[in-house]
């Protein structure tokens, strides 16, 4: 295929990889924006989510917020910010952070609400103070769910950042947008492949990171929570679930990233 050839040639040209507009620089910018946005969102969402979760309320709140933000196109928020004078990375970081809030919030709330009451009771019975209980019992038990929220948010942010190229933000999306603008479709395809690869790699790395962060005793639990993808391989040597358990486990539909 002509265009595939062109894309491969584009990817093979060292000039496209180096320099300020090269793939490496753009990937770096992409990752930097993503990390900043996720960190910013975590800073806001996790304390609020933990607070709501400790009060045992607001489990529905995250879902409601998430569904509302789904209706607001990221592109709209980006153009609104850009038109109000916030160009480039700052606007991108703010917009991405806003869209990362719902999964983080839901994760934190659901994580704490889902902690086994008996474990909390036992901790109280052992004389732990509220803060100690939160740090040594509730948080570790909530890590798989909170981690799932962070992972969802991060994957979503990495996938959203390319859009910022439309309003002048520098990221791997820039390659695609420039390609469309100059009618170089090989470059467009190359950019598309690079962005897709980055997102898939980010998803894979975060899955590994989440596993590393999860307390060992909870891993089987976390696996059955997250890995809806391979229900057959998951159980391995262990007992297969009864036939009724066929419904996909893992994040509820509401916790899936907003695709943009």
């Amino acid at each position: 295929m002509d265009i595939v050839d062109e894309a491969l040639r584009w990817l093979n040209d060292p000039l496209n990889w180096s320099g300020p507009g090269g793939v490496l620089a753009l990937t770096w910018a992409h990752l930097w924006i993503s990390v900043t946005a996720v960190a910013l969102a975590c800073l806001v969402a996790l304390p609020v989510g933990l607070w709501l979760g400790r009060r045992g309320r607001g489990a529905r709140l995250g879902v409601v917020v998430a569904n509302t933000t789904r209706a607001l196109p990221t592109l709209a928020l980006l153009t609104l910010l850009a038109a109000s004078g916030l160009f480039g990375s700052t606007a991108t970081i703010i917009a991405c952070a806003v869209f990362a809030l719902p999964p983080l919030l839901t994760g934190a709330v659901d994580g704490l609400v889902g902690v086994d009451h008996q474990a909390v009771d036992a901790a109280t019975g052992m004389g732990m103070s509220r803060w100690r209980r939160l740090w040594t019992v509730e948080l570790p038990l909530a890590v798989p769910v909170i981690g799932a929220g962070v992972r969802t948010a991060a994957v979503q942010v990495v996938a959203t950042v390319p859009l910022a190229a439309l309003v002048g933000g520098r990221s791997l999306g820039t390659i695609i947008v420039t390609g469309f603008g100059t009618l170089h479709y090989g470059q467009v395809v190359a950019g598309g492949l690079l962005v897709a690869a980055l997102c898939l790699v980010a998803e894979g790395l975060l899955a590994l990171g989440q596993r590393a962060l999860t307390p060992v005793g909870l891993r089987s639990l976390a696996r059955s929570d997250r890995d809806s993808q391979h229900p057959d391989q998951r159980d391995g040597a262990r007992r297969r679930r009864p036939p009724r358990g066929r419904e996909p486990s893992g994040p509820s539909l509401e916790q899936l990233p907003t695709q943009l």
């Binding site: 209706a71 592109l75 153009t79 996938a159 309003v167 897709a196 993808q229």
Partner: protein, 218 residues
């Protein structure tokens, strides 16, 4: 630049002067959304039912849909555009693929959540497995499927705007043009229309879902 021309965020003047453009963009947006959701639903329902009957298929099916879902729309449109052309076909394919994951999962969650006691009762009454699927399992799965449909529709409304990169973004077209010409009213109008569209679609589907499941007491 003491007297910059006014550039309000909301302007009735803009709506009056550009009614045709706005309506055309809105029409394209609604058309794309409806077509995408209908096609995705038509594909997802049989796929979901098949995966429910043959659980071996569920894993690969969901993971394929999951991988597709991880690819950002901008990248997907970029890879598709040279083959399917600049225009609505490319956008439509993208939107259908993204809605598919949500809908297939919705069907699977719904069918998997049917109370086994009810299925036992149906079997005891002599329902064949096909009859049971149509008369017992699908109606009982309807609420979960409707909520997936609502989610997919709202997401699709928002996602359609990205179609602007291949020239068929509905209201995204206005967003981008407004951005290019720094026309605040155009951006704000398009944004608000997107939100209104999503809310209306969501409410309509919610009401339809309620009407379709009269036995549910709320």
């Amino acid at each position: 630049m003491a007297d910059a021309p006014p550039n309000p965020w909301l302007s009735a003047q803009y709506l009056r002067d550009n009614a045709g453009d706005v309506l055309a963009a809105l029409g394209q947006h609604v058309g794309l959304t409806v077509e995408a959701v209908v096609i995705a639903a038509a594909v997802a329902l049989p796929l979901g039912m098949l995966a429910h009957r043959r659980p071996r298929l569920a894993g690969p099916l969901l993971s394929t849909a999951g991988v597709l879902y991880t690819i950002p729309s901008l990248a997907l449109f970029a890879v598709l555009a040279p083959y399917t052309g600049i225009g609505r076909v490319t956008v439509l394919i993208g939107l259908v693929l993204y809605a598919l994951l949500l809908l297939v999962r919705g069907v699977l969650v719904g069918l998997g959540g049917v109370d086994p006691a009810v299925k036992d009762a149906a079997r005891g009454m002599g329902f064949s497995s096909t009859a049971m699927l149509w008369k017992v399992e699908l109606p009982l799965a309807l609420p979960a499927m409707v909520s997936a449909l609502r989610l997919a529709t709202v997401s699709t409304v928002a996602l359609t705007t990205v179609g602007v990169v291949v020239g068929a973004g509905g209201l995204g077209q206005l967003l981008f043009r407004g951005f290019r010409s720094n026309y605040h009213a155009e951006i704000m109008t398009a944004t608000l229309l997107c939100l209104v569209l999503a809310v209306i679609a969501d409410l309509m589907l919610a009401v339809a879902g309620r009407l379709a499941t009269p036995w549910r007491v709320r």
